[in-house]
């Protein structure tokens, strides 16, 4: 079960993974365990400030984020992994700007940190997104080796959103493919998804519902166009917007999208043979039950029904 490949990381869950995205936290830990990754939570980490803190204050916002970097460095970490794209961006940006803009950001932030008995040398830890760590450090082959229940027949729209690929990352900022590849490794069918890196609206639901729901509608429409069974995401904000606000977007536009939105780690867990409950399936607002019934992996195994062949499908024998 355990691999001795020495993949050890400081883990920054972020506030969302304690609440709205607890399923992401749960499934991340289960999957990391199976892959032999050590995730050591940054002790006493604080909120990254999301987009809100930077809207009000600049230097305090960078200092807020930098406390986490300092704590991770003091813990002896070289790599800090964040599953939330917004946390990832704030940590990465602060790490970067502290070094790049020493007089405007780096020096004054360290002056502020000193008031709390901390110091951070920019670049001491490298900030990574969970997806990047999984596909780069662990690798597709090692992941494939753990797949015991391939997601055969499941049509997945891989949704990246913004902050994992923009600004200035090693991945294609407009048409990334690493999540696509990972889903294929799990045995799923990946649908074409032109809006895969478009914006879900972020906190726009709090400012203008009209603008926010339109952005959500576009993404749902695009996934539905390509007949996806579900959307898979890697960001708690994207998951919340596409899942929790889907009924309201439907109401506003008179549509009837019914697309479950799951975290990629939940699907990894299913493919690795974990039960749906063990990866937090059932906490989504738009139920994933029907989609997962396609692969016989819906939430309560007692109610499992044999997969029915689509009337329009070719006469192939059902998959085991």
């Amino acid at each position: 079960m355990s691999q001795t490949n020495g993949h050890s990381y400081a883990y920054y869950p972020g506030c969302s993974l304690q609440a709205t995205a607890h399923a992401y936290d749960l499934s991340t830990k289960r999957v990391a365990d199976i892959l032999g990754m050590q995730l050591q939570e940054v002790d006493d980490w604080n909120c990254c400030g999301a987009t809100e803190y930077f809207s009000i204050m600049s230097l305090p916002a960078y200092s807020l984020v930098a406390r986490n970097l300092a704590l991770a460095a003091n813990q002896g970490a070289q790599e800090l992994v964040a599953p939330c794209s917004a946390c990832y961006l704030n940590l990465r940006k602060t790490n970067d700007y502290m070094g790049k803009y020493r007089s405007k950001v780096g020096d004054p932030v360290n002056e502020a940190l000193a008031a709390g008995g901390l110091h951070y040398t920019p670049g001491t830890v490298s900030v990574r997104h969970l997806l990047d760590v999984l596909v780069t450090d662990i690798g597709y082959d090692a992941i494939a080796a753990k797949v015991t229940y391939p997601l055969k027949g499941l049509r997945i729209a891989p949704y990246y959103g913004c902050l994992i690929v923009r600004p200035d990352t090693q991945y294609n900022p407009e048409y990334p493919t690493h999540l696509d590849e990972l889903m294929r490794v799990l045995g799923a069918t990946v649908v074409d998804f032109p809006l895969k890196a478009h914006c879900c609206g972020g906190h726009m639901t709090q400012i203008s519902e009209e603008v926010a729901y339109e952005l959500i509608r576009r993404i749902l429409h695009n996934a539905a166009e390509y007949e996806a069974d579900l959307i898979v995401t890697l960001c708690p904000m994207c998951q919340l917007n596409l899942d929790a606000y889907q009924p309201q977007a439907n109401r506003m536009f008179g549509t009837s999208y019914n697309l479950p939105v799951l975290f990629f780690t939940q699907l990894m867990g299913l493919a690795f043979g974990l039960d749906a409950k063990d990866v937090g399936i059932g906490s989504e607002i738009v139920s994933a039950r029907n989609a997962l019934a396609k692969i016989g992996r819906e939430e309560e195994p007692a109610e499992r029904t044999p997969t029915r062949r689509d009337k329009k499908a070719l006469p192939m024998p059902p998959m085991p």
């Binding site: 506030c15 304690q18 609440a19 709205t20 607890h22 006493d44 604080n46 909120c47 400030g49 999301a50 987009t51 809100e52 803190y53 930077f54 809207s55 009000i56 204050m57 600049s58 230097l59 305090p60 200092s63 807020l64 406390r67 700007y97 790049k100 803009y101 405007k104 950001v105 004054p108 932030v109 002056e111 502020a112 940190l113 000193a114 008031a115 709390g116 901390l118 913004c162 902050l163 923009r166 600004p167 200035d168 900022p173 407009e174 478009h198 914006c199 609206g201 972020g202 906190h203 726009m204 709090q206 400012i207 203008s208 009209e210 603008v211 952005l215 929790a244 059932g282 906490s283 607002i285």
Partner: protein, 191 residues
């Protein structure tokens, strides 16, 4: 650049308050930013237009525009800008300036941001339940009733904590944030 005759021009202050802000001088007015913006159609002025207004010294009009508040922080503009102008960072600068001057657009959710950071400063963690109830209570009680169904469902699924999470070393965080605020005031940079 038109000067305010006294002190720095608006343009210079905007540049100064933004890390890497110098690049604003290189704006070509090509419009790639506005064309890439998911909410550009709903903005009073696209980023391109806003930058021209900043250069023209139209401070009041710029700070009252809904543009920075309609920015969704997707970084498409910044990624595509041929002059590598940190456009998204300028949107944050303009929000801070508008709040500091009390001139922001009516759609601005400055109070939402303020409530959010209030909880972060108090507990070290964000607190969605408190945020949702406090913000909507003051701003849209009807919206709260409409959304309370969703809130209830989220709570049932364990996705909304009714009590805040709190870090252990709140005093350390407070000391750091207070010092950062003091330095910012001292440097007279836009808070």
């Amino acid at each position: 650049m038109p000067d305010d005759s006294m002190g720095q021009s608006f343009f210079e202050r905007v540049v100064e308050a933004t890390p890497g802000g110098e690049r604003l001088r290189l704006c070509l007015q090509c419009g790639t930013c506005g064309g890439s913006c998911p909410s550009g159609a709903d903005m009073d002025a696209t980023p391109r237009r806003l930058f021209a207004m900043i250069a023209a010294g139209m401070e009041d009009e710029v700070l009252r525009a809904n543009t920075p508040w309609y920015c969704v922080s997707c970084y498409y503009c910044m990624e595509r800008c041929p002059q590598e102008i940190p456009i998204t960072d300028f949107m944050y600068t303009l929000k801070r300036m508008a709040i500091a001057k009390g001139q922001y657009h009516r759609d601005a959710h400055a109070d939402f941001s303020n409530s959010f950071i209030g909880y972060v400063e108090l507990y070290g963690r964000s607190f969605e339940f408190g945020l949702a109830t406090r913000y909507h209570l003051f701003h849209s009680p009807l919206g709260m009733v409409r959304k309370s169904g969703l809130g209830f469902e989220m709570m049932q699924k364990g996705r909304l904590n009714t009590a805040p999470e709190r870090i252990r070393n709140v005093p350390q965080l407070t000391a750091i944030l207070n010092e950062a605020k003091r330095i910012a005031r001292q440097q007279e940079i836009e808070l």
